[in-house]
């Protein structure tokens, strides 16, 4: 056990982080699979995405894209898509069908790693668009988790494997 007056060194923290990832039930030598990482805002999902990617693909530099701005054709080639909820938002804003688009994306890119915010734990928004956006993100999250071989919840920089 750690003594109360000992503050961990950086190396101990890294060791512990690796320990946490290994303890999450993940085999590091596993084949590349689709992964969903979800969690609250600013909890360290992007960082965890990179760590999980490197655990899977040793040495290969990932193509990381932001859901906010990228085009479908680019997203089909991505290794990691961050802030997937923002992609859903822009699709809704453009009047497109995010369900069909998500299916299309996953068909073309079935091994992608996606991060997406948990955003359903608040008051129902007054604005109709915000309500639709929030619910669509929740439901597409369910679709992604269903398709994913691995799903993680990140909180305070720590990942908990859900699937």
């Amino acid at each position: 056990m750690v003594k109360s007056n000992d503050v961990d060194t950086a190396e101990e923290k890294v060791q512990r982080k690796n320990h946490d990832i290994n303890n999450s039930g993940r085999k590091s030598a596993e084949e590349k699979t689709m992964i969903l990482i979800t969690g609250g805002a600013f909890q360290g999902k992007s960082e965890m995405a990179k760590q999980l990617y490197f655990a899977q693909e040793n040495g290969k530099e990932p193509l990381i894209l932001e859901g906010k701005t990228e085009e479908m054709e680019l997203l089909k080639k991505a290794d990691i898509i961050l802030h997937f909820h923002l992609w859903i938002r822009s699709l809704l804003e453009e009047g497109k069908d995010p369900y069909a688009m998500t299916e299309q994306l996953l068909k073309a890119n079935p091994r992608v790693l996606i991060t997406m915010n948990q955003m359903g734990c608040g008051i129902v928004p007054m604005d109709a668009f915000d309500r639709k956006y929030r619910e669509t993100v929740g439901r597409i999250g369910c679709l992604l988790a269903k398709q994913a071989q691995e799903a993680y919840l990140v909180n305070c920089g720590i990942a908990k494997r859900l699937k």
Partner: protein, 175 residues
């Protein structure tokens, strides 16, 4: 050791954290100290503080006020410190007089390490306010970012991390 307890509003995180601190006390010589961070601004907050103080007194806590400058709080190696909560402390360090504004999270990190180094055990309570999907004004977003930075910091330095949901503890890091 550092224990981080998080939860939503009304989740039972405070009660869990109080009981945890009480359980951590192993010897008579050890003292339970509650670090209060809520600035009493009106009659209602005075009443709330009074009620909480009474509740904790029954559990043997001494109350020590600290609104900003946590790194200067005097602590003793025999003390088990319950720090509640990060959301108040962050707001105080960002928005009150003599505060550290954009360096708020950094200052609080320093304060937490100071407490952890000099006390017996430290229990920190945090508020899980990151899952409502809301886009707030820039000041509020900055407040959330600073607080989330502290949560990730505690995710690294804590020996135990528990999320309380409906009064049920869910372990993120087991001791």
């Amino acid at each position: 050791m550092i224990f981080f307890v998080i939860g939503g509003s009304g989740s039972g995180k405070s009660e869990y954290a109080e009981n945890l601190a009480v359980q951590l006390k192993e010897q008579e010589t050890e003292k339970l100290v509650y670090v209060a961070t809520m600035k009493p601004l009106d009659e209602e907050s005075w009443q709330r503080i009074g009620r909480h103080r009474k509740m904790r007194a029954g559990k043997g806590f001494e109350t020590r006020e600290c609104y900003t400058h946590l790194e200067q709080l005097s602590v003793d190696k025999n003390e088990i410190i319950l720090l509640e909560c990060l959301s108040n402390l962050t707001a105080n360090e960002m928005f009150s007089e003599n505060c550290r504004k954009e360096q708020a999270a950094q200052a609080i990190e320093k304060g937490i390490l100071h407490l952890a180094k000099h006390c017996r055990h430290l229990v920190v309570v945090g508020n899980n306010v990151f899952e409502d999907g809301m886009e707030y004004d820039e000041t509020t977003m900055e407040y959330l970012r600073q607080m989330a930075g502290l949560h990730r910091f505690l995710g690294k330095v804590s020996d135990s991390l528990t999320e309380v949901i409906c009064g049920i503890p869910v372990e993120w890091r087991k001791l």
